[in-house]
Structure formats: structure tokens, C-alpha cells
């Protein structure tokens, strides 16, 4: 029997003979990353990405795709190509400077139990 699994969420799909390697990139619209402010008082949070021909269309698509149920009061879209990110490969050296500075945390300091409100 062809090997199958229910891994595809909506039901069983075949595992064999299905190409899965990343294929050639042929999208005609650039990729945008989408950030939504859920409500006043909260930061914008990354929610996903989408394709759009230009910035304005990206905003409209983001509204239709990520805020169909009042999930947001404000949206940012930014072209994925314009984002600079730290690389996971250099994770250790890149974040090392903050690793050895325990004195930046309040728990570093011993204060007697009977001193109030500190």
C-alpha cells in the first residue's frame, strides 16, 4: 500500500512520490511580513507573511487575511527583503555579551528579608 499519513491536517495524504524539495522561486509579487497590534496598549506582533504587488495592496491583503475577526487595530507591512536579521549560526557569539552580566538582574542583589518594598 502506498504509504499515507494523516499529517496533512485535513486528512490522509500520500507520502511517496510527492516532490517536497524547495522548488524554483517564481513568484511575481514580493513577499511582505505582517505585524499586527492586537489592541491599544500592546506592541505590534509578527503574525505571518503574504505576497502583494505593492505596499498598499499588502496592507489590504493583511487586513483580509490576518484580521477577519477583529484581531487588530493597526497593521504594519514590510518587505521581507528589507528585514535584517541575526543569523542562528552565530547565535552564541552574537548574544554572548549579555550572557555573563548577571548583575543586570534584580535577583543578583541580596537584600535582607525585613527590608520592605524592595
Amino acid at each position: 500500500m502506498t504509504e499515507l499519513t494523516s499529517e496533512g491536517g485535513h486528512g490522509a495524504v500520500p507520502l511517496e512520490g510527492v516532490p517536497a524539495a524547495p522548488g524554483p522561486v517564481k513568484h511575481d509579487w514580493p513577499l511582505y511580513e505582517v505585524f499586527v497590534r492586537g489592541k491599544r496598549g500592546l506592541n505590534h506582533v509578527h503574525v505571518g507573511s503574504l505576497h502583494a504587488a505593492d505596499d498598499q495592496m499588502a496592507l489590504h491583503h493583511a487586513r483580509d487575511l490576518y484580521t477577519r475577526r477583529n484581531e487588530g487595530v493597526s497593521i504594519w507591512v514590510v518587505r521581507a527583503a528589507d528585514i535584517t536579521a541575526s543569523s542562528p549560526d552565530e547565535k552564541d557569539p552574537f548574544f554572548a555579551p549579555s550572557g555573563d552580566k548577571v548583575y543586570r538582574h534584580p535577583t543578583f542583589y541580596d537584600i535582607p528579608e525585613d527590608v520592605p518594598h524592595i
Partner: protein, 311 residues
């Protein structure tokens, strides 16, 4: 700094062991990348193709209320497909390429969508049983080891709950109607029950790949576990609705604490999967037509964006 492959592999295994998530730019074994792309792409395709069976009834919904609900639901399916294509893109898969693989039949979608929707009761039964089965499959996927997929699944599961409830409510309304309407519901249940059980895939004994998927925590329960959970959930719902499932072997087993049920016809399943289901050709032809008919819109939008940029 370049880490060696064994070191990278160890870091990957360690991340999964600690139940932490794998994120887009992490090093992953090629097998994991392929498994995730295949899983996410086939899931995305299922959502997109899944718009068709119910879309069939939008223009013929019996009231404005039902039409609005159905429109919202079908729009959600499109949204779910897009969340998932977006998650697949983080693994290096290109959405246009995935669409191409779908309409040329190289990547698959769930075979459940190759069955026709013959009456309006089908809309209700799809919401109740098909989306109910999908929820059983999908809830554990919210804890998938691949971060973007798990996050997409959380969004999807929240919305899926509306899908199931609107279907059940629709059926309850029909069950309060005429004898003819009640028969229509029972007849739709009879057609969808077995295909819904097939959604969980073949028995565990025939699914050797499950072990690797479980080890990578991209699958959390076996096919049989999920199928049993679905049957146990559905029986009391059917009783509340006043319908029966077309399975003479379905009965409570006090010893196991579960319902026993009859054997699934895997030959039918394999046959539908091979492309011989009632609607396989129609579904792909429709998707291809929509894609090709939309080409000029995509091109015009690019031309417009270019013109604005030059100004």
C-alpha cells in the same frame, strides 16, 4: 563560525527533545525540511481545494443568514491555505511553485474533497464531521515542532471551531424541519461518515513513517488513536442530533472505554487517492482555471506597482 554537521544535528535533536520549537533559519536535517514542506504544502492545498465542495452551495443557500455564514467559512478556508503557504515559504518553498505542483497533480490534497456535495445538508455534515475530523487531526499539530506551522495551526483551530458549530447548528435546524429534511440529513451522514474516518489515514500497522514523524514531534498521535478519539466524540453528537452512523458494528465497549467500529474500506480510499474519486478531475480543473484566469490580474498589479514606483 561554521559548526560541523554532527554538532548542528545534535543541536537540532536537543531542541526537539526539550520540546522547543524549530524556527525558520535554524539548521535542520534535509529529511525534516522535506517532511515539513510536504506536510504543510499538502495541508495548504487541502484548504484551498476544500473551498470548492461548499462553494458549490453559496449561491443556493436557503437564506441570507446561511449564505453569509457559508461565505465567511469558505473565506476562512482560503485564509487557512494562505497561512500555511506562508509557513511553507519559511522553509524555502515558493508559493507559486507549490500552486504549480498542485495543478499539475504532483502534490496532493486530502481525498475527502473529492466527494461531491449533493444536497444542502452536505454543508452541515461537512462542518460537523469533516471539520470535526480535521480538528482532531489539527489540535495536536498546534504543538508541532516547527514553529511557523504550529502558530498557523493555532489560528486555524480557533477558526475551525466556528466551522464545526455552524455545521452542527445547520443540521439541528434541518432536524426540526420536515420528514424530508430529516431524511436529507441522514442520507448526507450516510455518505460522509466513512470518508470522514478515512481522513485519519490507514491503520498504524500500515504507517511505518509515523515513527519518524513522532520522533520529530511533527505528528503527536497515531492515525488509529485520532480515529478512535473522533468516533468517541461523534457518537453522542449523533445521538443528540437524532441520526445514526451507517455502521452495524458501532457499539460501546465498556471494557476498552471506547466505541468499537467496523472496518474501513481502504480499497475505496486508495482508489479515490489514485485519482478515481467522483470529483478529482473536476477539483483540479477548477483550481487550474481559477489560477490561469487570474493571471492577467497578477500581471496588471505588477505593471501598476511598477508604474507608481517610477513616478
Amino acid at each position: 563560525m561554521t559548526a560541523t554537521v554532527p554538532a548542528l544535528e545534535e543541536h537540532f535533536e536537543h531542541t526537539i527533545e526539550r520540546d522547543q520549537r524549530i524556527e525558520p533559519r535554524d539548521w535542520v536535517p534535509e529529511g525534516y525540511r522535506k517532511t515539513m514542506i510536504r506536510q504543510i504544502a499538502q495541508h495548504a492545498h487541502s484548504e484551498i481545494i476544500g473551498m470548492q465542495p461548499e462553494g458549490n452551495w453559496i449561491t443556493r443557500a436557503p437564506s441570507l443568514r446561511r449564505k453569509a455564514i457559508l461565505l465567511a467559512k469558505v473565506q476562512d478556508e482560503a485564509g487557512h491555505g494562505l497561512y500555511l503557504y506562508s509557513a511553507a515559504a519559511t522553509l524555502g518553498a515558493d508559493r507559486a511553485d507549490l500552486t504549480d505542483k498542485l495543478i499539475t497533480g504532483r502534490q496532493k490534497y486530502s481525498s475527502i474533497f473529492n466527494y461531491p456535495t449533493l444536497t444542502f445538508a452536505d454543508v452541515g455534515v461537512i462542518g460537523w464531521l469533516v471539520d470535526g475530523a480535521a480538528i482532531c487531526n489539527q489540535v495536536p499539530l498546534c504543538r508541532s515542532s516547527y514553529g511557523p506551522y504550529a502558530r498557523a495551526m493555532i489560528r486555524i483551530c480557533k477558526e475551525e471551531s466556528f466551522h464545526q458549530r455552524q455545521g452542527y447548528e445547520l443540521l439541528m435546524t434541518m432536524m426540526k424541519g420536515t420528514d424530508q429534511q430529516r431524511e436529507m440529513v441522514q442520507e448526507a451522514v450516510n455518505r460522509w461518515w466513512w470518508p470522514s474516518l478515512m481522513m485519519f489515514g490507514p491503520p498504524d500497522a500500515d504507517s511505518p513513517n509515523t515513527a519518524q514523524s513522532m520522533a520529530w514531534k511533527v505528528k503527536r498521535h497515531t492515525n488509529d488513536e485520532l480515529r478512535q478519539r473522533f468516533v468517541d466524540m461523534s457518537v453522542p453528537q449523533a445521538e443528540a442530533l437524532g441520526v445514526t452512523f451507517p455502521d452495524p458494528d458501532l457499539k460501546w465497549n465498556a471494557e476498552r472505554g471506547h466505541y468499537d467500529f467496523g472496518a474501513v474500506d481502504w480499497d475505496e480510499f486508495k482508489n479515490v487517492l489514485k485519482g478515481n474519486g467522483p470529483c478529482n478531475a473536476q477539483r483540479i480543473a477548477h483550481r487550474r482555471r481559477a489560477h490561469e484566469d487570474g493571471a492577467w490580474v497578477r500581471e496588471a498589479a505588477v505593471a501598476h506597482a511598477g508604474k507608481k514606483e517610477r513616478k
